[in-house]
Symmetry: C2
Subunit: 228 residues, 2 copies
DNA sequence: AATATAAGGTGTATTTTTTACACTAAGCAA
DNA sequence: TTGCTTAGTGTAAAAAATACACCTTATATT
């Protein structure tokens, strides 16, 4: 690696997952200088023959083994001095993935010692300006969830309304009213009620729902919003 | 200029102005290849010792002679093949400026033959992927105006409610109801009513208002929105 | 001075959306 | 059978959004 960079750019990714009622992101522990031993967002240099999008997809794949996940670019960081070795521009993306719980995450690249899922409430100080990048990205999805149904990507394909509400609650960081939440969510008419019920719970099982892309495309001109 | 670039990046700016009831952007006519003779967004390469923000400010200054205007980064374009000479990443910003009508715009740099204000409804096909950049930026301010008072930056310091409404109408591209608009805008309590009236009109003069930053900071937790 | 012209400025009733709030039903476990 | 835990439901009140039309005021014209 060169001692000093000239106009290099990287892609960093905030990869969100929802697991056991907690919103988490994937962090890697760096295995090389600078910031060796620190936690950081998964990211790497972009090849010169690679579109930014493609680089983001590659980084996601190297971090999680997943392909074809929707990623959204949310900001580009280019302050002087944000990288100790020289001028680096970073294009930041976020992704939301479906954690089935059992799936282990094994980063392929060797610049990372390990990858871990960390609750968004417990994010430590990160390498470079990654703390700032994280805050900006988190704020972005918090805003976006209010008018776009991005939350479904974090849930299993079949989910209960209570799970959906919990997810909204952890993203928005506030309690919502159960009746109002259900009323409103159902009123958008973008969910498909299944004939199935939850299994393996030691109490009354809840109905399962699916996100219905077709209905969404037809009905979704209104905006979603939750204030209590 | 090199025949082929390696990992170079640029900043392009959409500079909005509001003049005689029309929303316009500043375009330059390119004076060098590629796309010589085409219209393009003002933009240029970023120096390696320059923060992205600084480059955006510099480009604004070179295009308009203005300094210290608020600019917002809205997207970074990095598809392969978007520049005929090689890989170029472009960070796009928009700015909103106060056109006092008489002010001429004289671009300093010699890569531009001329700079012109063009109504957003009459934008021609632009160089590179600038048409796409424009559309994305315009969409952004259209969304943003609904919940942030960015519109005031386009108006003279003192303005009438009708002027403000006209501006909203051209940005949102729809007619608004006069009584509802006024009621709502005044209800936010972010305007200061002045003791002055419009001058030089051949009909009843309207009251002038100012945007009141203090009131805004105090009162503005709600969101602005207009649907009719 | 009278009149015409053009935009300024205002209120209310209706509909829609948001909010607040509490109990019964169902399923499992002991 | 009882207890525990979450599922699931409705209504009334408040707030926000919408639809809608006429009088006022300043200037220009005759």
């Amino acid at each position: 690696m060169p001692a000093h960079f000239d106009s290099v750019f990287t892609v960093d990714c905030i990869i969100f997952g929802f697991d056991e009622g907690e919103l988490k992101i994937l962090l890697i522990e760096r295995n090389e200088a600078p910031f060796k031993g620190w936690f950081a967002l998964p990211g790497y240099f972009v090849e010169n023959t690679e579109a930014i999008e493609t680089a983001a997809q590659r980084i996601l794949y190297e971090s999680t083994g997943l392909k074809g996940i929707y990623m959204e670019q949310f900001y580009t960081f280019g302050a002087l001095g944000r990288h100790p070795q020289g001028r680096v521009i970073t294009v930041a993306y976020y992704a939301m993935i479906r954690l089935t719980g059992q799936k282990d995450v094994k980063p392929v690249s060797d610049f990372a010692k390990q990858a871990v899922w960390v609750n968004v409430k417990d994010i430590p100080e990160l390498a470079f300006d990654h703390s700032r990048i994280f805050r900006k990205g988190f704020e972005k999805i918090r805003n976006k969830i209010s008018y776009q149904p991005i939350a479904f990507e974090l849930l299993p394909e079949k989910f209960t309304l209570t799970q959906l509400q919990n997810l909204y609650e952890v993203i928005l960081n506030k309690k919502l009213d159960k009746r109002n939440f259900r009323k409103k969510m159902l009123s958008y008419d973008i969910l498909k009620e299944l004939d199935e019920k939850q299994k393996g719970v030691s109490y009354r099982a809840a109905k399962l729902y699916k996100f219905d892309k077709r209905k969404f495309a037809k009905n979704f001109h209104k905006e979603l919003s939750f204030s209590k």
